[in-house]
Amino acid sequence: MIQSRQLSYSYPGQTPLRFPDLQAPQGALILLSGPSGCGKSSWLAMVAALMPPGSGTLCVAGEELTQLRGATCDAWRARTIGFLPQKLHLSAALRVQENLAMAQWAAGQPEDTARILVTLEQLGVADLAKRYPRQLSGGQAQRVALARAVLLQPKVILADEPTASLDDAAAGASVKLLLDTASASGATLVIATHDSRIASLISRSTRASDCISLQLA
């Protein structure tokens, strides 16, 4: 669930960014789009509690984010947000399995290997657990990064430009994987993109009806 009203953010010396109101129930699919510089990153950062909302209200997964501060933000983010960065950012020093274990370490949870293997299995990459990121193909690496994002069963998955630099077939597979994974766990899925292919891919999918488009200007 993500709700926002009158949300805005202003960087010093710049015109404030204003965001459209949003009312998305738990499990919704949100397509965040707009030209570069429109505030996609700021919106993602606020939803992930990386920076406090400038003004207005923002409520994510039942938590009023204007109230959260410091270490509580980090703990809340660990529980609630799964993030799939565009560049994936798997740690080159660690094996796939250890990369996932990092999510548990970051959240301050004990390492749970069984849980890691189950998650890798769900994304079809369990046999890659012992590999290093440099030994993975692009598609495999994205699956691993998605596994890391959903490992702690977040209520919200944020995917940043998941199809950038992918060809059409790979982009289709990537979007399908995201939709399926989010549906399976009941998580709210936010896809931030300026790739027009994603909108058409979604409109042809079963989720076409419940997709909320958040267009930033």
């Binding site: 990153s41 993602l44 950062a45 992930a48 990386l50 410091g70 270490a71 980090d74 703990a75 809340w76 983010r77 660990a78 529980r79 947000i81 993030f83 960065p85 565009q86 560049k87 950012h89 740690s91 080159a92 020093a93 660690l94 250890e98 274990a101 990092m102 999510a103 548990q104 370490w105 970051a106 959240a107 301050g108 390492e111 890391r148 940043d160």
Partner: protein
């Protein structure tokens, strides 16, 4: 995954730079440890040998030479003093006890010392085997001598003239081993001890041409020097002056001469110590640069950890953990290298014969080394850690 295990993994994710940093830091620590070990061993050895000797009386000459010769048995004597003078010393009201020392011969570099059994008492020496001498030409071996020369009770040998190897062998006068001392960590460990009369006997046998000549020699018997213990500490004021002005001998105070010696050595040690600290400082800078680069290279990783919900404190713990590992590994290697170097130098300079520096030692000051090491590493990590604290998460995740 535990933070400690993780920082270990990260440390070795760049094996070359990690190895170089460990080497650099170990080198700095090894030099400091080496200095520490040598000075600790030297002062411990000096202290043990000096204990309870208030003055050394011998022929006129360098007082330091007299001390080095008489107490530590490392320098040559300044000359001899008449036996009668030693007897007079005993009668002096300020003197509690006198131990005569006669030098002149050696066995393969180990000094044969003519003395009284008081010398054994003075250092609380105990016998590992056999008994003390009760007649001339019987010897008791220090533990190091017995070990190195492989001599046992009942064996006989002839001494050679002089204090180093290679002098004339007194082939007609054979010494018999009657006892072997237990190791005491004192000067006795490297001496061959016998009765004062043995030394006279060997040389009179060697030089006397007939009975008359022998009698003449006996009348002028001498010892090399005497170790003196005062009856009262006040004697330190008047006794040396009395000896130096009204006799043909000199009295030297070991405490004074040794502090003079140590202050002379001290300048050298200070210079070396300064070098070691410069080395350590450059090692610290090396660690700083390595961690700084590690943070820069790993900014994206750090941003991901923050995105995954790690509070900044956990990230800083990761970096400090890495620095601590570096410090621990380096201090272990540094201390081992220093112990090895000490051993090597002791062997090369044959100092282990003199027991001034012997084998690995673990003085309590050594505990400073890991503290110093971790201090340097953590100090070097402080600024990069601050950088990790400030990393701007989303910007990094989106940067190309």
């Amino acid at each position: 995954m535990k933070t400690i295990a993780l920082s270990w993994r990260y440390l070795w994710s760049h094996p070359l730079s990690a190895t170089l940093n460990v080497l650099l830091l170990s080198l700095g620590l090894a030099s400091i440890t080496f200095l520490l070990l040598v000075s600790a061993q030297l002062s411990a050895a000096f202290e043990k040998d000096l204990a309870g000797i208030d003055a050394v009386v011998g022929a006129k000459g360098s007082p330091m030479q007299l001390i080095l010769c008489g107490v530590f048995q490392i320098d040559t004597p300044t000359g001899n003093i008449p036996l009668k003078a030693v007897a007079d010393l005993r009668k002096h009201p300020l003197v509690q006890s006198v131990i005569p020392i006669s030098l002149g011969d050696n066995l393969r570099g180990f000094r044969i010392v003519g003395t009284s059994t008081d010398y054994l008492r003075h250092y609380h020496a105990t016998l590992a085997d056999g008994r003390e001498w009760d007649a001339p030409m019987q010897v008791v071996l220090g533990s190091a001598v017995a070990r190195k020369l492989g001599l046992q009770i009942g064996m006989t040998f002839a001494g050679s003239h002089g204090l180093g190897g290679g002098g004339h062998v007194h082939g007609d006068s054979l010494y018999t081993v009657v006892g072997i001392l237990s190791p005491g960590g004192t000067v006795l460990d490297r001496l061959i001890l016998t009765d004062t009369a043995s030394v006279w006997k060997v040389h009179e046998d060697y030089t006397a041409v007939n009975a008359e000549d022998r009698q003449a020699l006996e009348a002028t018997r001498e010892v090399t020097l005497a170790l003196v213990q005062y009856r009262t500490p006040l004697a330190a004021m008047s006794f040396p002056r009395y000896i130096n002005t009204s006799t043909a001998m000199q009295a030297a105070a070991p405490a004074l001469e040794i502090s003079r010696l140590l202050s002379m050595l001290g300048i050298g040690v200070d210079v070396l110590r300064a070098f070691a600290f410069v080395l350590l400082l450059s090692a610290g800078l090396g660690v700083f640069i390595a961690l700084w680069n590690a943070v820069r290279e790993r900014r994206a990783d750090i941003a991901v950890f923050r995105m995954l919900g790690a509070p900044p404190s956990r990230i800083v713990a990761l970096l400090l953990g890495e620095a601590l590992w570096l410090g621990i590994v380096s201090s272990v290697l540094g201390v081992l290298a220093a112990q090895g170097l000490t051993l090597l130098i002791a062997k090369m300079l044959q100092l282990d014969n003199s027991l001034l520096i012997a084998g690995p030692a673990w003085p309590p000051e050594l505990l400073w080394i890991p503290l110093l090491s971790c201090g340097v590493a953590v100090g070097a990590a402080a600024l990069p850690s601050l950088g990790a604290y400030r990393v701007s998460v989303l910007e990094l995740l989106q940067s190309r």
